[in-house]
Amino acid sequence: MKKYSLIVVGGGPAGLAAAVSASETGIDRILILERGRRLGGILNQCIHNGFGIHYFDKELTGPEYANRFIKLVKRRGIEYKTETTVLDITGNKTVVSINQEDGLMELQTDAVIFAMGCRERPRGAVTIPGTRPAGIITAGAAQKMININGYHVGERIIILGSGDIGLIMARRLTLEGKKVLAVVERMPHSNGLARNIIQCLEDFDIPLLLSHTITEIRGKNRVSSVMVSAVDEQYQPIKGSEREYECDTVLMSVGLIPEIELGKRANMLLDPRTNGPLVDDAMQTSIEWVFACGNVLHVHDLVDYVTLESRKTGKAAAHYILQRGTAEHYAGVTYAAPISYIVPQKVALGEGQAELFFRTDRVVTNAEVVVAGGQGEINRIKAARINPSEMQRLVINKEKINGLKPVLEISIEGVS
């Protein structure tokens, strides 16, 4: 049986950055296992620019961003296998995977990093009445068909959901000469970044219908039209507000879910809010030798933040492999609405700083983020505006968490 120090599952931005960082920390015998034909993951199909503004201080396209890390992986001599699917991780630190060349492989390792990314919520996840014709696809699938395979997906398109991929596709299809009729969003606010609303919709006069939804899809073999209605505050369609849009294609951009099947099979503890693994601030999961980073942990809005998180994870996994000691005492992280989730879910007590990421379920203005640790307030940060589409970052000095009552309470005060 072949023996590795670290096996990284997934060769997208998270896996690449984690592997490079572990290598820099002194780990050799690292193996990246990637399901796709090449390294780079979803970045390969994200041909638009805007990646790397924070990490490289430069606007790169997805493939350019990926190539920077692929080059580092190759330069450091990190081993990788593409078109390889991981089937299982087992209790005796074994990774079971399969590909055409090697067949079924059982690989022994000291640690694993989960970097499998996420997948799109399909039509079935958001009940829409109507027929089931061809022409209903997720925005990311359309992106792959157009940018990687060179197909056209349709001529007249309606986009359901204002997630960033949907917005990016609205622009891409318009530039390809297709007609994007509208982006329909059930919430009263967009789920996409402001930059994308402006550069992908407003630049091309594509209407963004907030507080609207598709109430019916019509068509026999191919989509022929959709009915769009306004919704009330309970997201219920308002009678009499229906309008029919003739179209041949519906793109769905209604959210992403961490692809954590491997964790589920291994009985890993998951957070029902993120749908990803429960981790501490070293990104260690409930299975001691398995770490997680990137979109399999929680869905990020910028790849730059995936890179930073994954670098930290790679380093933490390296320290685990080098047996530099694991934490024994933790503070659980608690929170309440309007915070919708916080990662990590627990923080190891000790020295140094912990980085926390959270999102809100609504737009928050002129509020304060309050951090309390057991017996008192640790920190209070003014927040002029928090958008649900933008992940928030908190840095906490761990020494301030009181060990007698090890809990970290995050709340938002002054929510209007």
């Binding site: 090449r38 493939p63 530039l175 390809e176 000469g177 928090i386």
Partner: protein
């Protein structure tokens, strides 16, 4: 030059200031911005809004084998479709390396079309 007045939502930070930008007889007036970044953004959006254009082109006469490409510089917003038309007319043969110039001075914009990926 004609007078202009626009409300511009700033995208330089999450605040999203609604900046009012005006031009009247060569005098620019920019209001409601909370910082200088907002001023710069509103000024460029009012006077010469520019965007990168990204697309793909066929490799080796195979329309199902795509190379990602982009403009080397942001181009004027009203030239985006002209740039797209020019991109649709070209193909490349392997090997192609990242950064390779495929069209010089595309649609008279001073930007080049360059490969943003490699052919492998």
């Amino acid at each position: 030059m004609t007078d202009l007045r626009k409300t511009i939502v700033c995208i330089r930070c999450p605040l999203g200031c609604e900046i009012v930008a005006e031009k009247r007889e060569d005098i620019y007036k920019i209001q409601n911005n909370k910082c200088t970044k907002g001023w710069d953004y509103a000024f460029s959006e009012l006077t010469n809004p520019v965007r990168y254009v990204t697309s793909t082109i066929a490799i080796d006469h195979n329309s199902a084998h795509r190379l990602p490409v982009r403009t080397s510089l942001p181009v004027p917003k009203d030239k985006m479709f002209a740039v797209m038309s020019a991109i649709k007319l070209v193909e490349v043969t392997t090997p192609v390396h990242e950064g390779q110039i495929l069209i010089k001075n595309v649609a008279g914009t001073e930007a080049d079309i360059i490969a943003s990926g490699c052919s492998s």
